[in-house]
Symmetry: D2
Subunit: 226 residues, 4 copies
């Protein structure tokens, strides 16, 4: 039987948090939740973020319930469009957000110190990984490293492996670009973008300094948002 | 070029939220973020929740950055263990949380009014869906409906389809159970549970009343958490 | 020159908090402040609380800007009605709240571990105080101790002094009662109460347990609020 | 009997807020309150603010319980040092903060659209007021208007009355200066300032734009804080 019989301390604290949420959002100021229950959700934004506990989209943007439709996976990756009938959780969420909820904004939110991207760097520079899912998953962005890593087995590859371990931001951002490009392979995304009803944003959060960077629409380079 | 040149209103507001986050977490009370940057993340909890904008795990539990490692997908589903080398985003996050971060708790958090589960009910009762990803994805929990739906094409099936549209909570909870069972097919999850170092929780949030329900460890029935 | 030339750490942090406030209330969600600026304040509640840093009315009640008109002084005292032309800060605030803002509720909010009431107990039991203002100020509630303290200079008084140091809650609540009674000496307060347009509440916050107590309208005894 | 028998809507909401506070500060994250209960309060800052519901010191500075010792009265005024044994609430709080709590900072926080200052302007320009307490109280700062208002009964006085109704900020700030000067008449304040252990700050909050202004330590002029 997988269930523990007595709440552990972390669970006890989360349940206290839920009591506070109920007192705050259902009793103290019920308007917002009441409307969300009656009328359903109408978020304008789909945010694709990382599972990392330090980069919570709602906290980071001071969102309220109802504002952000959120996908979170390891390394905030978007796979390419592959309608093959198998389980594609991220693609399902993108489809639901764009076709059912008709969001007007999609944000891919990367960040510094990403463990998934560290795994990708190791993987792409020839270091073995012993896992079932993380490596295949992060390999979605493997080609993003092409400009930064020498040929397989070369001296340059070893050198780059070393270098990138210490400057992962370049890869974290390249992976955001790759996800943005994969987004555009979804026909319903491309249509919305071309019709001007859907806007795509590539962001990267500098965890050390608390600064957000975004892909500039013209230069297409990452720049700090003022 | 997929990028819009001027921030739309929702984006402008999110950027204002980020300024508030920075002022709050980096300037006003920097201790927490500073530690999370220096020492990395050490969350105790993996939470698998829905992308629905109304059920944000951090808001709902009053979490702070660093506390929850979060996966969010449509209908908070866990697929079965399938280490076949293809893209399994949710499984990758579970693997990373359990093996690398060594979380002690896994919460599967379902909720009322779940659009993904509505899709599953339609799908499972013979109504055609025109989508590429949502239907295959939610079919992860299809067998959870078996006790509640008559044989394919039967009169009972039609009746059940109608009925379940109006009482989806029973299916939303059955889907949480299915995900909890799928979790146990992951060898590293099962090991942790059997060793007593990992605890699994099935929760369902009553959006109308703000009450959390949980699978009781002994009766295994959903009950409101006091 | 009384001004320091470089912000100290506490000031630096408050200024960071103000930046967060501006980003949150002026940029992220400007509606509330915009309305309060355009239409002026219309609070329904006057709260008379203690200056104690642990019992902040806005935090304690999760208030937003515009909701509470607040007086804070040592021991949350209301002096009797004395329209003698001298400086009566608390009385001025009561007058402004009732006559100009037309609040419908007045709350006198006392609390456990009140330093001002400790001073009052010492004062009332014959212990000398070396201060210019605190003792005269808290003596507003001196008569509230009459039922609990023996005659001046008596053995009983010594005994009571000792006892009350360890059970100050009884005096903290008696002082709230005294302030409520003083409130009723203000003609414009009495009129509102008698007309049914103004309601008075006597509260006491149990700092140790986080529980609020209130004077019950019928029994007039302090009871925990459900 | 002054107590209403059934909670009105504003009271019901405040009680819900208190439930949220308890869940948040006593159950979810109890460390801070537990320490404040065990060790008592040790605020570093005394803030003297206005009762105005729109300028709540804790919200404005994102303070937590325990950080700010707060006096709030009409127009955030400090009377001059008058140790005459009568009721001086603000002076008592200053004395308690400086002598018992040994705060290192005193902030006088004024703000735009101050109703108390409007009353002072009317009073000082010959308009009758029908009140018992507000006019005597705000007259604490009456001399602050001397540079801005012509002689009593003069044409210039009428002109200035009209002008100042539309530019009250100049008087709001002059009143902050007056309070800062009155603070320095308290011997224990002056001692602390001269010893360098106590710092005084004169602030004014621009309610329209969300900007804080402060008296510059050298020029002594009000300037926006970066």
């Amino acid at each position: 039987m997988p269930f523990s019989s007595k709440p552990t301390e972390p669970i006890r604290q989360l349940l206290a948090g839920i009591r506070a949420f109920r007192a705050r959002y259902y009793d103290r100021r019920p308007e917002n939740m009441r409307q969300l229950v009656t009328e359903g959700q109408h978020p304008e934004v789909l945010l694709i973020g990382c599972s990392d506990s330090r980069v919570d989209p709602a906290l980071l943007t001071m969102a309220e319930p109802g504002e952000l439709f959120v996908v979170r996976n390891v390394a905030n990756l978007v796979p390419p469009y592959q309608p093959d009938g198998s389980y594609h959780g991220t693609s399902a969420a993108i489809e639901y957000a764009v076709k059912s909820l008709k969001v007007s904004e999609i944000i891919v939110l990367g960040h510094a110190q990403c463990g998934g991207i560290q795994g990708l760097i190791r993987l792409r520079t020839g270091q073995k990984a012993e896992d079932d899912f993380v490596s295949p998953w992060v390999s979605i962005a493997a080609s993003a490293l092409d400009p930064y890593v020498g040929p397989e087995g070369s001296e340059q590859e070893k050198f780059d492996a070393e270098r990138l371990q210490h400057t992962p931001a370049i890869i974290e951002r390249a992976a955001v670009r790759a996800s943005v490009e994969n987004l555009m392979t979804f026909p319903f995304v491309r249509e919305g973008v071309e019709a001007g009803t859907l806007h795509i944003h590539g962001w990267w959060f500098d965890l050390e300094n608390g600064e957000m960077w975004a892909i500039h629409p013209e230069t297409r380079m990452f720049q700090p948002v003022e």
